[in-house]
């Protein structure tokens, strides 16, 4: 595979950096531009790069499609579950003030958790869509 050698070496170097940047964007969405959506898309871009360079079978060994389906639903459940946690603890649906003793700390916890849910769902759905397109092309 000599014609793929440069791609393989460079992408093995770049993919961990892309994932690290996605995690940075996810958790620094409070202080700069960023947040759940951008982080999810960048994280899935790292995996799409891996799939393009190393093949669909290698990517499926790393993340089986069943795990992706579970992760996609898990993100939505985390988001809706935070709302229900607000209900259980005595406030309204999706009220973050009751999640901790201090109202500001509760807001921070709530925003962090729902951005995590959004990031997980967006990353797994983008990967699901790309795997579906790639799978269809093989006959």
């Amino acid at each position: 595979m000599m014609h793929n050698l440069i791609l393989k070496v460079v992408s093995k170097f770049l993919i961990p950096l892309i994932m690290l940047f996605a995690l940075y964007v996810q958790f620094h969405g409070d202080f700069g531009p960023g947040g759940g959506f951008q982080a999810g898309v960048i994280f899935s871009a790292a995996f799409i790069l891996y799939t393009i360079v190393f093949g669909l079978d290698a990517a499926k060994r790393i993340i089986p499609p069943g795990v992706l389906k579970v992760l996609a639903s898990l993100g939505v459940l985390i988001y809706a579950g935070t709302g229900i946690a607000g209900l259980i603890l005595g406030g309204n649906y999706l009220e973050y003030g009751v999640l901790a003793s201090n109202k500001l700390a509760g807001q921070h916890i709530g925003i962090l958790v729902i951005e995590l849910g959004v990031g997980i769902t967006v990353a797994s759905v983008m990967m699901i869509i790309f795997f579906a397109f790639a799978e269809r092309g093989r006959s």
């Binding site: 700069g32 531009p33 960048i42 871009a45 709530g110 925003i111 959004v118 759905v125 397109f133 092309g137």
Partner: protein
């Protein structure tokens, strides 16, 4: 002053790219120009001070959309086939007339909009200043866009996550299974067998 120059330059490049997308016949060129269009529009968003929107547009438009279009191109045209579009056979003056009439009506309609960048326009005076003032006391988050998205308008974001999830489910239903029939068979409703 320099802001307006960069703005006009980027918008002119965007118009040229859009005209090139209309005129070019090769579909690979269309997809590549679409990626360039998304990246230039992310630049326009940065000049207009919308950094979150620029981030999302660059990642989503120049990343995911372009890759999916390339994948569709690979799936719908065979490997050695020429990836061009055929010229349409219906009349060419009717779409142009419709577009010109709609465009002139829209330009006439925007003559009433307050000036570009006006700080006293009605869109800047009601809820915007409230969010800018009350974001740090009530939520403690400096990025006002994240505070509004996650805390003040959290329901809309829940709906948005559900829309993304639904799109993933729908794409899985449409093309999630490997094709079991040869391309010459006409009916393709037999690839939903195993769950």
């Amino acid at each position: 002053m320099i802001d307006s120059i960069i703005d006009i330059t980027l918008l002119t490049f965007l118009v040229i790219t859009a005209l090139a997308i209309i005129r070019s016949h090769s579909l690979l060129a269309v997809v590549m120009l679409f990626g360039i269009f998304s990246l230039l529009s992310a630049g326009v968003f940065v000049v207009l001070d919308a950094v979150d929107v620029a981030f999302t547009e660059a990642a989503v438009g120049a990343g995911i959309s372009t890759v999916l279009m390339l994948a569709t191109l690979a799936l719908t045209y065979k490997h050695k086939e020429e990836k061009t579009e055929k010229t349409p056979i219906h009349a060419g003056w009717l779409p142009l007339t419709v577009v010109l009439i709609t465009g002139s009506l829209l330009i006439y309609g925007t003559s009433d909009i307050p000036a570009f960048g006006d700080a006293k326009a009605p869109s800047q005076t009601h809820v915007g200043p409230y969010y800018l003032e009350k974001s740090i006391p009530e939520t403690g988050v400096p990025n006002v866009v994240t505070a509004v998205l996650a805390s003040y308008r959290g329901f809309d974001t829940l709906g948005e996550v559900t829309v993304i999830f639904t799109a993933g489910v729908a794409v899985m239903l449409l093309i999630g299974r490997r094709r079991k029939t040869k391309p010459e068979n006409t009916d393709s409703g037999d690839d939903n067998h195993d769950a």
